[in-house]
């Protein structure tokens, strides 16, 4: 990479900010199904938090927080949570993503709420993973 002059203040600020951003991001994710927000937005915020550290502290440090190898698999895993939910409903005898048929205990409305929550979480993870991966890939090898 371009040699990186890490500024203590910047690192300090971003280190303090990052967890709160993540917290708010999680809030957004988990509120997706009955108020503004959801997986995409929350995931983007999570990614923002991660990328903030990368910008502030440079890759070497940042990868201690979130190793770059994690990006793509996390994304795949996220999408798979989403997909798996849909599959589960099919196994439960319903249509794809027909949450009411989740093979779990509970009334249909509860199951719907749970199902969409699962999906939001999946989407959130996917967005986090993929955005970070894109950031890393674009950064990788620039310069050297």
């Amino acid at each position: 990479m371009r040699e990186f002059d890490s500024d203590d203040i910047v690192i300090l600020v971003s280190r303090t900010l990052s967890p709160f951003i993540m917290l708010f991001a999680l809030y957004v994710v988990f509120h997706g199904h009955y108020s503004p927000g959801g997986g995409f937005q929350g995931g983007t915020m999570l990614a923002a938090a991660v990328i903030l550290i990368r910008l502030a502290a440079g890759s070497e440090l940042a990868h201690l927080q979130f190793p770059r190898e994690l990006g793509t698999p996390l994304g795949a895993a996220g999408v798979f949570i989403y997909f798996g939910t849909g599959l589960a409903t099919m196994l439960g005898g319903g249509r794809f993503l027909d949450y009411a048929f989740l093979p779990l205990a509970g009334t249909a409305p509860a199951l719907r709420s749970l199902g969409i929550l699962l999906v939001e979480v999946g989407v959130g993870l996917a967005v986090l993973g993929i955005l970070t991966a894109i950031f890393d890939d674009l950064l990788e090898g620039s310069g050297e």
């Binding site: 698999p73 795949a76 895993a77 798979f80 794809f96």
Partner: protein, 505 residues
């Protein structure tokens, strides 16, 4: 299975996601997974086709939401047919792909993503074909396009540039489509195809509807590489890995054609698309130009894959002419040509791939009789494909031209007739040029030199006939050409006749 129409999509999507995860644990599993998934998808869509023909259109409502609120997946004969064709062709090509991919993508770690992309692309195609919702179609369109860009970029040194051009053009197309869809949505408040078909007759003289239709048609014309919007195609097909071009060429443009047919004849209706607002005739004339232009350009090419790419432009033109006729015969010709051209182009590109692997190049001026002596069966299959392209009965290629010609005469459009017939002569010129070299080229040096830059053709056997895994698919397709040709009446009567929409008669 209530989800039957969506099932291939789901299977392919799931496998595409799983492939990277699984291959973290066991290496080399990607290809097996891909083949298995595509095989499953192909067999399901075959079953679906039979069911649709037997019991009529299949519907499934995503997540149990009924349309027009929910997204509906619909398999009518047209969709089922196209899906079956695409899936089975891709299956055949994937069988052939192994050696060729190993050779042309030396970096093994990239194979996983290659096969994942193939799955995503096919998933997107299936989605486009199966969905009953125009916005959903847009999403699938972009999914497939993105994976196409990736596949193209996996090719030789120049491929990323071609891929980037393709990306720019493709995005313009998709965005036009989206914009046009926006106009329709504003006017009708619905995105569901059946719903739109019901609402449009009341509003279809409104300017926004017309604008919307034109924009959507323009966008899809870019996707199906209709002359003069074909600019991205030749470079993309030429520089992509052989197996990628063998995957894209038979399927990609066809899907664009499918969307056009769906939009023009099933949603707007032939009456509107042909008489009220003569979109189809514009398409027809452009297509006629495409046929001539593509064939002429193909003559000028020195590189086999590039020649085939330009001939694809021409062949898309045939489908366009069929659409342009906006008559049952035209539709029959177009849809039958979707099948025929898929088989022919897959065959020819696969042969080009085998040549690249075996000889290290696919440059026409370097072919000679040594090639034929080295791999007689592959060459014979190529000859069969070439003859079919020229339109020698009883091979398949003749009959799509036959129906198109009938349609042109019935519409007493003599220029289309002339174009269709003359083009088969042009095909003859550039294909016999290759055949002549393959069968009588003076064997100067040995038939194999080292390949163009960016290709590692060293690994893999270099002499003798192509390996079974490459030979069998090729011969299979060659045989298919003859069978389809002889049994085309069955296809036409049992399948295509059933998909002619009301109001076209």
């Amino acid at each position: 299975m209530s989800d039957a129409p969506a099932l291939p999509v789901l299977i392919l999507l799931g496998t595409a996601i799983l492939a990277p995860l699984v291959s973290l644990l066991l290496r080399r599993s990607a290809r097996a997974l891909a083949v298995a998934a595509v095989a499953a998808a192909a067999s399901i869509s075959a079953v679906n086709l039979v069911r649709v023909l037997g019991r009529g259109t299949l519907h499934t409502h995503m997540a149990g939401w009924p349309p027009p609120i929910g997204i509906e997946y619909v398999l009518d004969p047209l969709a089922a047919f196209v899906a079956a064709v695409i899936n089975s062709i891709v299956l055949i090509v994937l069988v052939h792909a192994r050696l060729s991919v190993d050779a042309e993508i030396p970096d093994r770690s990239r194979h996983v993503s290659f096969y994942a992309l193939v799955l995503l692309m096919l998933c997107g195609f299936n989605g486009i074909v199966a969905t009953g919702d125009f916005f959903n179609l847009y999403v699938w369109l972009e999914i497939s396009s993105l994976s196409l860009y990736g596949l193209v970029a996996a090719g030789d040194r120049r491929s990323p540039v071609a891929a980037f051009r393709y990306l720019i053009m493709g995005t313009i197309g998709a965005t036009f489509y989206l914009l046009g869809l926006g106009f329709l949505f504003v006017m009708t408040g619905s995105l569901n195809m059946a719903d739109l078909a019901a609402i449009l007759p009341h509003v279809w003289r409104e300017p926004p509807v017309v604008v919307g239709l034109v924009l959507m048609v323009a966008g899809m014309s870019i996707k199906m590489a209709l002359f003069p919007l074909h600019g991205w195609l030749p470079d993309a097909y030429t520089t992509a890995p052989s197996s990628a071009s063998a995957l894209i060429a038979p399927t990609g443009t066809k899907v664009g054609a499918y969307v056009l047919i769906r939009l023009l004849f099933f949603v707007f209706g032939a009456e509107f698309a042909a008489r009220t607002l003569p979109v189809t005739s514009v398409i027809g004339w452009l297509a006629a130009a495409a046929v001539i232009y593509g064939s002429v350009m193909a003559m000028a090419q020195k590189e086999l894959k590039r020649m085939l790419a330009f001939s694809s432009v021409a062949q898309v033109g045939y489908i366009g002419i069929g659409i342009g006729l906006a008559s049952p015969l035209g539709l029959i010709g177009a849809v039958l040509h979707v099948l025929n051209h898929a088989c022919m182009k897959a065959l020819l590109f696969l042969v080009a791939g085998s040549f690249r692997l075996k000889l290290g190049h696919s440059r026409i001026d370097r072919f000679n009789a040594a090639v034929r002596r080295q791999m007689p069966w592959t060459t014979a299959a190529f000859a069969a494909g070439a003859l079919s392209m020229v339109g020698v009965p009883p091979l398949a290629g003749f009959f799509s031209k036959w129906y198109l010609a009938l349609g042109a005469v019935r519409a007493s459009n003599w220029i289309f007739l002339a174009v269709i017939l003359v083009s088969s002569l042009l095909n003859a010129v550039y294909f016999f040029r290759v055949l002549e070299r393959l069968y009588m080229g003076k064997t100067g040096g040995p038939g194999k030199q080292e390949g163009p830059a960016g290709e590692a053709v060293e690994d893999g056997p270099r002499d003798g006939e192509a390996a079974a895994s490459m030979l069998v698919p090729v011969l299979l397709l060659a045989a298919a050409l003859l069978v389809i040709g002889l049994l085309n009446a069955v296809v036409v009567k049992q399948v295509i006749m059933k998909m002619i929409p009301q109001g076209m008669m």
